[in-house]
C-alpha cells in the first residue's frame, strides 16, 4: 500500500515537471525562432523608415568617359566610367536589391534630370537603390540580373545611358508603429473611463438582482467572443458612424480604435471589478462611519486602492490592442501607410505582419523583426506598470 502511494506521487511529480518543461520550452522556442529569424533586419532605419519607396526616373544629360579612381572592396562593384560603387544588398524588408555605396562628387549621376518635369535636377545618393538602367540600342540592366552585371554594363564604353530609374529605400515600418501608438492612445481614452466606471457600477452601485446579474454574465461572455465578430460590428456600425460624423470616407483609425475599445471593455470591467473586490470592506465602513456618502467613499477610498488593478487592466488592454489583427483588417484596413491620418485607413504592427505573411512570397524575416519590436514594446509596458505598482505598494498608497 505504501509503495503504491509513493509510485503515484512520483508519477504526479513527474507530470508536474514535464508539463512545466513543455510550456517553458514552447514559449522559449517562439522567442528563439522570432529572434533568430528577425534579428538581422532589426535596425533604426527600419523603425524610422518609410514603407513605400520613392522612385525616380531620370536622364543623364552629360555622358562621361573620365576614369574615376575607385577603391571597391571584395563585395562591391566599381564603375570607373561614372564614379559609382554598387553592391548586392537587401532592402529593409529583406528583398534583394542593388544598393549605391558610393557616388563620386563630380559623377554625372549626381547631376541627373528628372524625366517627369524635364528640368529638375536630382542626384543619386549613397544608400539609394538602383532599379533599372536603360541604354540606346542595348538591353536594359535590371535588378534581377544583379549588381555585378549592372556594373559591367555601365563600364562598357559603347553603351549610352538613356534612362536611369532609382529609388529611395522603402520597407520601413514607421507608419505602422505610429498607427499602433495612435490606436493604443485612442482606444484607452475610450475604453478606460467606460470600463472603470462600469466596473464601479457593477461592484459598488448595482443592486443584486436578476437584471444586473444578467448584464454581468453577458459582459463576461463577451470576453470569449472572437474578435472578428467585433470586427463585423466595427464595419457595420463604427465605420458608417465615423463616415457620418468625421471627415473619414471609408475604413479609418477612429473606427478601429472604437472597435478595439469594445473588445477591451469586458476585460477592463472584469479586471477592475476584481481590483475593487479586494479593497477591504472595512475601509468602506470606516469611510461611511465618518459621514462620507457612498460616492465619496467609492471615489476617494475604494477607487484609489484599485489603481494597481486598473493598471493591470490597462496593460492587458495594450496587449490586446497591439496583438489584434482580425478585427482591424476590416475596420482599419490593411493598407500600409507612411503618413498616418486618423480619418484614413492604415495598418497596425500586427496587421503589418499579416500583410507581410500574405505577400507572395511570405516575408518571414520582416514579420519576425516586427514581432521582436512588438515583444519589446509589451515587455517595456509590463516592466513599467510593474514598477509603478510596486512603487505604490512600497509607499503604502495601495
Amino acid at each position: 500500500m505504501r509503495n503504491k502511494t509513493r509510485l503515484s506521487d512520483i508519477l504526479l511529480n513527474g507530470f508536474v515537471y514535464l508539463a512545466t518543461s513543455l510550456s517553458v520550452l514552447a514559449l522559449g522556442l517562439i522567442f528563439f525562432y522570432v529572434f533568430t529569424e528577425g534579428k538581422d533586419l532589426l535596425s533604426l532605419d527600419l523603425i524610422r523608415g518609410n514603407y513605400h519607396s520613392r522612385n525616380y526616373v531620370a536622364t543623364l544629360p552629360q555622358s562621361s568617359n573620365d576614369s574615376f579612381n575607385l577603391q571597391p572592396t571584395e563585395q562591391t562593384f566599381a564603375i570607373e566610367r561614372f564614379g559609382l560603387i554598387l553592391e548586392q544588398s537587401e532592402n529593409l524588408a529583406g528583398d534583394s536589391v542593388i544598393r549605391v555605396v558610393y557616388v563620386a562628387e563630380d559623377s554625372p549621376f549626381s547631376q541627373l534630370v528628372l524625366q517627369e518635369t524635364g528640368n529638375e535636377v536630382v542626384s543619386l545618393k549613397e544608400g539609394m537603390i538602383m532599379m533599372r538602367i536603360a541604354y540606346e540600342n542595348h538591353p536594359t540592366s535590371l535588378t534581377s540580373r544583379g549588381a555585378a552585371a549592372m556594373a559591367a554594363d555601365l563600364n562598357d564604353p559603347d553603351r549610352v545611358v538613356r534612362e536611369v530609374m532609382f529609388a529611395q529605400v522603402g520597407g520601413g515600418i514607421r507608419g505602422s508603429i505610429i498607427t499602433t501608438v495612435y490606436l493604443i492612445g485612442l482606444t484607452l481614452m475610450m475604453a478606460l473611463p467606460l470600463g472603470v466606471l462600469s466596473a464601479i457600477f457593477f461592484n459598488e452601485f448595482a443592486p443584486r438582482n436578476m437584471i444586473t446579474k444578467t448584464m454581468r454574465t453577458f459582459t463576461e461572455t463577451l470576453t470569449g467572443v472572437p474578435s472578428i465578430i467585433f470586427g463585423l460590428l466595427g464595419i457595420t456600425v463604427f465605420v458608417p458612424l465615423t463616415i457620418r460624423i468625421t471627415p473619414a470616407s471609408g475604413s479609418n483609425l477612429i473606427a478601429g480604435a472604437m472597435t478595439l475599445a469594445v473588445i477591451l471593455l469586458p476585460t477592463i470591467i472584469r479586471t477592475t471589478e476584481e481590483a475593487l473586490k479586494v479593497v477591504p470592506a472595512d475601509h468602506r465602513f470606516a469611510s461611511l462611519a465618518l459621514g462620507a456618502n457612498k460616492t465619496q467613499t467609492v471615489f476617494k477610498v475604494v477607487l484609489p486602492q484599485a489603481i494597481p488593478g486598473i493598471l493591470t487592466a490597462t496593460f492587458l488592454g495594450i496587449g490586446r490592442i497591439i496583438g489584434e489583427s482580425a478585427a482591424l483588417i476590416f475596420v482599419l484596413g490593411a493598407a500600409i501607410k507612411d503618413s498616418v491620418n486618423i480619418y484614413q485607413p492604415s495598418t497596425s504592427l500586427a496587421v503589418h505582419i499579416w500583410a507581410m505573411m500574405t505577400d507572395e512570397p511570405a516575408n518571414v524575416a520582416l514579420s519576425s523583426t516586427i514581432a521582436i519590436i512588438i515583444l519589446m514594446i509589451v515587455l517595456v509596458m509590463n516592466l513599467s506598470i510593474k514598477g509603478v505598482v510596486s512603487l505604490m505598494i512600497k509607499k503604502g498608497r495601495a
Binding site: F285, A286, S287, L290, G291, A292, K300, P304, A398
Partner: protein, 251 residues
C-alpha cells in the same frame, strides 16, 4: 442628567433571524458604557444600530425607537450622514486608509467640504494630540499610515473619528487585534477621552470592561440580561447567567 441615547423596545432581524429582542437601554453622557456577552449575542449588532451602519446589510429590518438627543435617529427620515458625523466609530481591526497620516485624519473634514489647509492642519494636530499619537508621528505626517504599528494604527483610527468632533464614539472590540502594551495605551486613552466624549465599547474581555467602563450591559442571545453600574454588575450580579458569564463558566 438626560441620557444621550435612549433605546426602547428595539427588535432587529436579519431576514428571518431575530438578532436583537426588545432591547431597552439608556446610555449616559460622558461615561464609558461596556457591552459584554458571548460571540453572536448581538452586542456588535446593537452597536451598529447606534450609527445606522446596519443599514448597509441586506435583509436587515428594525422595529422600536432609538432616541439620540431625544430625536428618532432610527427613522428613515433622519439624516444618517449627520448622525454618523456625531456618532463616530472605531472598528475591531485597525483600518487606516492607505494614505498619509495627515490625509487619514483629514479625510472626514475634507468630505464635509473643508478645504482650508490651515484649518485641516489644526484639526489634525488637535485630533492626534487627543488620541495620544502626536508625539510619535508629528515628524512623519506625510508617510503612509499603513507603516504604523497596529496600536498606532488603532489610535490613528480614533484620531480620525475625533477629527469629526463627534459626541459619541462607538468602539467595536478596539483592542482585540492588539498586544497587551498597545491595549494598555488604548485603555488609558479611553479614560482620557470620556471627559469629552460618550464612549460605548464592545469587549470580550471581562477585565477590560471592569477596568474602563462606568456602565455595563450583558447581552445574551439578542437580549439584554442585565444593565447597570459596572461595579455592581461585577460585584453582585442579579442574574445567574450574568454571574456564570463573568466568572468564566461559559462564553
Amino acid at each position: 442628567m438626560e441620557p444621550i441615547i435612549k433605546v426602547e423596545n428595539l427588535d432587529l432581524y436579519y431576514d428571518k433571524f431575530q438578532a436583537l429582542k426588545k432591547i431597552s437601554l439608556e446610555i449616559p453622557q460622558n461615561k464609558v458604557t461596556a457591552l459584554i456577552g458571548p460571540s453572536g449575542c448581538g452586542k456588535s449588532t446593537f452597536l451598529r444600530c447606534l450609527n445606522r451602519m446596519n443599514d448597509l446589510i441586506e435583509g436587515m429590518r428594525m422595529d422600536g425607537t432609538i432616541l439620540f438627543h431625544g430625536e428618532h435617529s432610527e427613522s428613515s427620515a433622519y439624516d444618517v450622514i449627520g448622525l454618523r458625523k456625531k456618532v463616530g466609530m472605531v472598528f475591531q481591526r485597525p483600518n487606516p486608509f492607505p494614505m498619509s497620516i495627515f490625509d487619514n485624519v483629514a479625510f472626514g473634514p475634507r468630505q464635509q467640504g473643508e478645504k482650508n489647509k490651515q484649518v485641516l492642519k489644526e484639526i489634525m494636530e488637535k485630533s492626534l494630540k487627543q488620541a495620544a499619537l502626536w508625539d510619535e508621528v508629528s515628524d512623519r505626517l506625510s508617510e503612509s499610515a499603513t507603516k504604523l504599528s497596529g496600536g498606532q494604527q488603532q489610535r490613528l483610527c480614533i484620531a480620525r473619528a475625533i477629527a469629526m468632533e463627534p459626541e459619541v464614539i462607538l468602539m467595536d472590540e478596539p483592542t482585540s487585534a492588539l498586544d497587551p502594551l498597545a491595549t494598555q495605551r488604548i485603555e488609558d486613552l479611553i479614560e482620557e477621552l470620556k471627559k469629552n466624549y460618550t464612549i460605548i465599547i464592545v469587549t470580550h474581555s471581562m477585565q477590560q470592561a471592569a477596568r474602563i467602563s462606568d456602565k455595563t450591559a450583558f447581552f445574551l442571545m439578542g437580549e439584554v440580561i442585565e444593565y447597570g453600574n459596572t461595579a455592581d454588575i461585577f460585584a453582585n450580579p442579579n442574574d445567574k447567567r450574568t454571574e456564570d458569564y463573568i466568572t468564566g463558566r461559559f462564553g
